[in-house]
Structure formats: structure tokens, C-alpha cells
Symmetry: C2
Subunit: 199 residues, 2 copies
């Protein structure tokens, strides 16, 4: 029984195919035509569901950000006490997501090829950031969340590139221990007091 001429839900199928390729063959193999092949349609069909290849990638990145948010929330939910422990859990979830989905993570932050104005992408990214900053954050909270995001993001990149392990090999610690040490040091400190406006 052959596949019907009209796929029915090609939009989602293309995203799933793209993620499958990303996970199986890496970023280098992720092309518009390979996605179409993986989904079993002609190479021009995606144009009816995504204006650009950049739009397809941006939609995939948006999926990644919602998953990142979920992963952080799940990890934070494992701790009972709030405050520093919860923040450390969020950070651990961030890095865990990056290590579990390295290719997707890299795709999410590759500035070129992505449409940075893509509506779903910016929404999903802000939602993820909001998890670190809390609701209606004031300046101090926003600063602290920014520093935390920067820290875990940089750590994730180091971990993905294997540079964390190369650092660990020079010490008596495993990369996991380094992660915990850095995250604990960050979660335990107080954010910097906001400088007074200059006007």
C-alpha cells in the first residue's frame, strides 16, 4: 500500500525527520533535501510548509528551547529545598540537556542559518530564560539570571567540545565533579548589587 499523495501532516513530520537526521548523522548531514528524503517526499515539498530552510531550522531550534526548558524544570523538581539548590538544579538540567542533545543544542545557538526574528524561536527562548529569572524579575534578579545563563551556557559548550574533560584530565577530578563544583559555587553566591543609574 503506497503512501497517499497527500501526506496529511508533513509539517510535523519534517521536523521529526530533521531531528532524526541531526541525532543520527550530525549537523553536517542536515540539509533541506536530506530532510525531504528522510520524510519520503520530494525535495521541493518542504517549501509549502517552511518558507526557507532557515525557517525549518528555526522551528527545530524552537522545539529545542521548549525541551531545554522542560529539562531544566524536571531537574529542578528533583530537589526539595528551594533557593540555591533549585538554581543548581536548573543549571544541571541545562548542561544535561546540552550533553544529551549536543547537535540540537549547537543548532539552537548557531547564529547563522537561523532566522533570529522567527516568532516561535524567540518565544521559546524567552520562555526558557524566564525559568531562570523567575516571574516579573527586578533588575537584580535579571542580572543574576543573566550571569547564571552565561555560566551554564559556557559550561555546556565546554562540555560538548570535550574541553571540560581535557581540563579534568589535568586535575584529579572527573568532569562531573568539576561541573558540580562550578555550579555550586555559582548557586551559593549572592548576585551583585545593581549599580545606581547615572542620570
Amino acid at each position: 500500500m503506497p503512501r497517499p499523495y497527500h501526506h496529511g501532516s508533513l509539517h510535523g513530520a519534517l521536523l521529526e525527520a530533521a531531528e532524526r537526521i541531526l541525532r543520527r548523522d550530525g549537523i553536517g548531514a542536515l540539509t533541506l533535501r536530506s530532510v525531504a528524503r528522510e520524510a519520503g517526499v520530494s525535495h521541493a515539498s518542504p517549501a509549502h510548509h517552511f518558507r526557507d530552510f532557515a525557517e525549518l531550522l528555526s522551528a527545530l531550534a524552537a522545539v529545542g528551547f521548549t525541551r531545554l526548558r522542560d529539562r531544566m524544570a524536571a531537574e529542578a523538581a528533583t530537589v526539595r529545598r528551594g533557593g540555591g539548590a533549585r538554581r543548581r538544579g536548573l543549571g544541571r538540567g541545562y548542561v544535561a540537556f546540552a550533553r544529551e542533545n549536543p547537535n540540537l543544542f549547537l543548532l539552537m545557538f548557531r547564529s547563522d542559518q537561523l532566522d533570529r526574528m522567527h516568532a516561535g524561536l524567540v518565544a521559546a527562548r524567552e520562555a526558557a530564560f524566564a525559568l531562570l529569572a523567575g516571574e516579573n524579575p527586578d533588575t537584580t534578579r535579571l542580572l543574576a539570571a543573566t550571569a547564571r545563563w552565561s555560566l551554564v551556557h559556557g559550561l555546556s559548550l565546554l562540555a560538548i567540545d570535550g574541553r571540560l574533560q581535557s581540563i579534568a584530565s589535568r586535575t584529579a577530578l572527573s568532569d562531573e565533579q568539576i561541573l558540580d563544583a562550578v555550579l555550586s559555587a555559582d548557586a551559593g553566591r549572592r548576585p551583585a548589587p545593581a549599580p545606581a543609574p547615572t542620570w
Copy 2:
């Protein structure tokens, strides 16, 4: 007077041409053929100086890392007192380099398309990192340097993507003030004590 058949020093000329394109037209315009055109040679000539296009990009990234190191050193040299002020200077230099050379900075950290085993690249990168970690760093110093690198790297990405400004727009601070606040908070704190090995 036409250009002689043999260029003489095409290796360096290609790197300069690539950086010119990167600065003028962005990462999307940086292709092997465009570099060859910019240098005024045929599209197959670069193959005699760079095995791959990835090798050319890696060599360019290596140049970027030495410049990054120089930029950090220059900024740190402007402060008289050592310790926290110097570390803050290094971080400021890091972010400054990223903002002054956004495309080159993004190229340096684009994991795909780059040959991560490229000898010159890893050497230049480690040299830059060594500036943050100091000479013969012990575990504690290495951890602190890792955290610092992560922080300033994440901050640089936020700054380049304009997300730092979008955060600043929600506060009463300029992005410069946010940068200084985060960097000061980081430079002032003590690194986490290294956990004891588990064996």
C-alpha cells in the same frame, strides 16, 4: 602590470582575504570560492595551501584566538592593581573582542565546519585560556578559570546576539553597566573549594 603567475605568499593573502570578507559581508558570504576571488586567484588554488575549506577556517580561527589573547592582555594591562581588577580586565577584554569582531568570534566557536583537531587552532585556544588560568595552575585555579571563561563567553554571546540589550531595555541600566556588574561580581568572589576525590 598584471599580477605574476606565482603569487608568492598566497597562504597569508588567503587568510587576509577571508577575514576581509568576514568583516565586510558576514559569515554567510565566506565561501572557499569567494575567498579565492577576493585574493584574485582561481577557485582551486587554495587547495595547495589548505587541504580543506575546514582547514582554512581553522587557521583563521587560530588567528582569532591569538588576537583574543592579545586583546585580553591589553585590557588587563590598563589596570594597575592585580588580583580582582586584573581578572575583571581580562573579562572585559574578552567581551570587547567579541563585540569588535562578532563574525570572527562566532567563527571561532562554530563547532561544525571547523577542524577541531587542527594543531594551530588548539594551540592558540589553549594559549588564550592559559591567560585566564595563569602559569602551572592547580585544581582550584583551573576551576576558577573555567568558570570565568564560561561566564565571559556566555556574556559575549548574549552581547553579540543583542540579547544583552534586550535585557537592559527591561531595566534602568545600559548593557555596559550590566557587563561591569556581572564581571565585578565574578572577579570579586572566591572560587569554590575543590571537592575531595572519591577514590
